[in-house]
């Protein structure tokens, strides 16, 4: 019985987790996708809440020029990072992101999407 209580306590301690690294769960436009129309915004959904003040998104056009304007903001309790986009022309865009989760862990990533009307 004592072993069972100890095991339950250990499990509870492990389950009462804080926050982990924020990894990209999915994005819109999706990673590696081709979309028929220019998206009005880019949304990044993370596994954990992120701190917008310590997070950044950079979007590069096919020639390597930045097209993002303004700061990203969060939604969905901080798990979604959104940045408005100007009217994008046809081409492949590169997204570089780095975020800090609410427990200060840092993660980064990069992907592409293509606009092909």
């Amino acid at each position: 019985m004592r072993k069972l209580i100890l095991a339950a306590a250990m499990l509870a301690a492990l389950s009462a987790r804080a926050d982990a690294h924020a990894f990209l769960e999915h994005a819109s436009p999706a990673v590696g996708s081709t979309v028929p129309a220019a998206p009005p915004e880019l949304a990044l959904n993370f596994t954990e809440a992120v701190e917008p003040l310590f997070s950044a998104v950079e979007i590069l056009d096919p020639r390597g020029g930045r097209v993002d304007t303004g700061k990203p903001h969060t939604a969905d309790d901080g798990r979604r990072l959104i940045i408005a986009l100007p009217k994008l022309g046809p081409g492949t865009y590169t997204v570089n992101w780095h975020v800090t989760s609410v427990d200060t862990h840092k993660t980064a990533g990069r992907f592409r999407f293509t606009v092909a009307p």
């Binding site: 982990a20 690294h21 996708s33 862990h105």
Partner: protein, 316 residues
Amino acid sequence: MNRFNIAAALACAGALGPSAAFAHVIAGNRVFPVTLTFDDPGVADEASLPSFMYQRSGAGGGTGPTHEYDFGFEYDKTITSNTALIVNYGWDIFQTNGSKTETGFENLFVTGKWQAYTNAEHEFVVSLGVIREFGGTGTDHTGADVHGSTAPTLYFGKGLGDLPIGYLRPLAITGELSYAVADQGLKAMPVVDPATGLTSLQFNNGNPNQWSGGLSVQYSIPYLQSQVKDFGLPAFVGRLVPLVELTWSSPATSPSTQGAAWTVAPGVIYMADWYQVGIEALIPGNKAAGTNVGVVALFHVFFDDLYPHSIGKPIF
């Protein structure tokens, strides 16, 4: 299971060290998961609770086969953001048909490790470490050596995400190379049998110095989904990392009583937010590594994710 020497352990069931000291590491866009048969290239606050290995050996003869079950425990504590101390201990069960079941502890291993170089852009990590085996801290009748060893060790990890190779970008390679200097060297003494006059060699209870290493090739589906192309895979599949690990060991000094041994371990790792679970087959690569397929599994928790403000952060 000896953290840097599964192949050697398979070759000599009963002479096993403690379970692997592993650390997960992030380099840029790459997360290197915790490999099961040898150490990873980074440092972190984490623990194996536990690792498990099963191996069958010695099927021939009157007393075999022997079923061996090893449980390994490990605690990794970061001292600074790029240095850590790692403690390994293990407990083994040996069941031989027709014989009494034997149980005992493995020797204690302590590793000092320095994550010396991290290149985020190129997903590249190099670490240096020293693994100290404390001889006589385990149970001798289950194979724990009375003599220890000290092993300078090099670790590396390289993700291929910076290369223009499309769907191969989720690939990564990690490796380890270690040279263990035995506290007590193995010595051979010629002994003449007075009855026959024949000369034979008698060995002391020392060990030869030893090279050992590991190499893993892993394909990260999380990387594929988040960096290359989102195929809309089910969430469970999107957290899997299939991989193949290769471990090898070879005596570096003469005399030695065993030759080189190597083992292949194909398997898969599931990466959750604060833990990972992995399982691999242990396939002997040559006769010296055994003749039966075994299995190794690992439940590993990341304290830096679980308790980032207390035990999950560096001391300094």
